[in-house]
Amino acid sequence: GQQVKQSSPSLTVQEGGISILNCDYENDMFDYFAWYKKYPDNSPTLLISVRSNVDKREDGRLTVFLNKSGKHFSLHITASQPEDTAVYLCAAGARNSGGSNYKLTFGKGTLLTVTP
């Protein structure tokens, strides 16, 4: 089954509103959670991430919330802008056996459209 799941393939928000993107995961071993942004025909770029010892992290208009007991994390984008329109991929990671880096498991993405 899908270890990381984005249940909403698309989301439309009006300019100035709050965009809320959700992600659920299954693996208890995940201890790193990230959101990537992807434009068509471009590679994913990291927006924001947290480790499991943190349940919230803010960076400008972006906030990640982590609910470990519910195996759920979300990305909130305040004051959404048309240029925020893109595919947002959530990713979760567990340290590989070597212990140095995270092997990422991605959701299938949510297309966010911000309308003027």
């Binding site: 990230a34 590679s43 990291l46 140095s100 991605f106 299938k108 993405g109």
Partner: protein, 113 residues
């Protein structure tokens, strides 16, 4: 800094042919990852090198796929006897060892006819 470089950007092969994809990580990055992206499966982990050593290839199909990192400046992903279901965008990412952020290259779009 040129970022992660992947070549070729597009490759078309006939069924049964071999395809070799190249990745040059960001200078100084010792962790290199390969992922595959398809519409059906999304973005899937394939394999990972650290300091040129293979660490985790749990995502690699057991047959026909192999990856190497002969030196710190490039890695290759080789697909033998390509099949139409191998058609995908193959993404390489690099990271500093012990750092979380992975930087992705532009990908190689492989089409197997």
């Amino acid at each position: 800094n040129a970022g992660v470089i992947q070549t070729p950007r597009h490759k078309v092969t006939g069924k049964g042919q071999e395809a070799t994809l190249w990745c040059e990580p960001i200078s100084g990055h010792s962790a290199v990852f390969w992922y595959r992206q398809t519409i059906v499966q999304g973005l899937e982990f394939l394999t990972y090198f650290r300091n040129q050593a293979p660490i985790d290839d749990s995502g690699m199909p057991k047959e026909r796929f192999s990856a190497q990192m002969p030196n710190q400046s490039h890695s290759t992903l080789k697909i033998q006897s390509t099949q139409p279901q191998d058609s995908a965008v193959y993404l390489c990412a690099s990271s500093l060892v012990q750092q979380d952020t992975q930087y992705f290259g532009p990908g190689t779009r492989l089409l197997v006819l």
